[in-house]
């Protein structure tokens, strides 16, 4: 049951990224180009996603536990530290360079484009690098 729910959630999430235009790096970079021919449409992705999630979470988190587990696993980290700020800054820079964040990278692997697979490999390397050299305490 768990893998089935995981798969369906991934499928719907991926379709959302595709329908919304988040998998098109030209549109993403157009959204990030405030000073150019700014394309604000991707702001609606954030709006739709955050509003739906906020509403759904309110209903779901009222329950004692999720369908297939004994507890909800919500992030426990509190407070703003240098690690969070540095990480967000580096991620934003990488996002602005190529127009790809992790979700669209993984969805777009299906297009079998070499460059995108190279970016995926280098993203994996980044994850493993932090896991080896600077794991979260």
């Amino acid at each position: 049951m768990k893998p089935l729910i995981g798969f369906l959630a991934g499928l719907v999430f991926g379709l959302g990224l595709l329908v919304s235009g988040m998998t098109d790096p030209v549109r993403v970079l157009g959204f990030l180009d405030l000073a150019g021919a700014w394309d604000p449409s991707l702001a609606f992705v954030m709006l739709g996603a955050v509003a739906t999630t906020a509403l759904g979470y309110r209903l779901v988190l009222r329950r004692a536990h999720p369908l297939c587990d004994t507890d909800f696993h919500l992030p426990t980290a509190k407070g703003i530290d240098r690690r969070l700020l540095l990480g967000a800054a580096l991620f934003g820079t990488g996002w602005g360079l190529a127009g790809y964040c992790p979700g669209p990278v993984i969805v777009s692997l299906a297009g079998l484009q070499g460059g995108l697979w190279v970016m995926f490999a280098s993203m994996l390397a980044g994850w493993l690098l932090v896991d080896r050299l600077a794991p979260a305490s």
């Binding site: 739709g48 979470y57 297939c68 967000a88 996002w95 460059g115």
Partner: protein
């Protein structure tokens, strides 16, 4: 493609996030799911299935829209490599990406996620500005 497709896509993304919370009690942060799958044995099953779902979405999109150029990038190979490293290291240090912080965290009004989202958006805007319009104040 216009705003209502963006909005519809957003609603689908949100629905997936709610589904994952209702079913498994998990946050739908894509970098977190993928990273944890690499490094932790427990819970690998549903995480692999989630990532397979993402790729299947891409495959079905390719089947329906033949030649959709999914994954085609106008950016050069070295830039893709640097961008991948920055996205990987950044999301690992920051504990999330556009989905984990930007959608799930914002929906929970988490202060960490609000700050992280503001910072990565700001650096995204700044990077594109510098690449397309030069350094602020520089004479071109």
């Amino acid at each position: 493609m216009i705003w209502y497709q963006a909005l519809l896509g957003g609603v689908l993304i949100g629905s997936a996030a709610v589904m994952l919370m209702a079913g498994l009690g998990r946050v739908a942060g894509i970098s977190g799911v993928a990273r944890t799958m690499l490094t932790t044995r427990a819970g690998r099953g549903w995480r692999m299935a989630f990532l397979a779902g993402l790729i299947c979405a891409g495959l079905s999109w390719e089947l329906v829209h033949g030649g959709s150029r999914l994954g085609a990038s106008s950016v050069s190979m070295p830039v893709l490599i640097v961008a991948g490293l920055l996205v990987g290291v950044g999301t690992a240090l920051g504990g999330g990406c556009t989905s984990g912080h930007g959608v799930c965290g914002m929906a929970r009004l988490s202060l960490r996620s609000l700050v992280a989202t503001a910072v990565f958006m700001a650096f995204g805007f700044l990077t594109v500005y510098v690449l397309r319009h030069g350094f602020p104040g520089a004479v071109s």
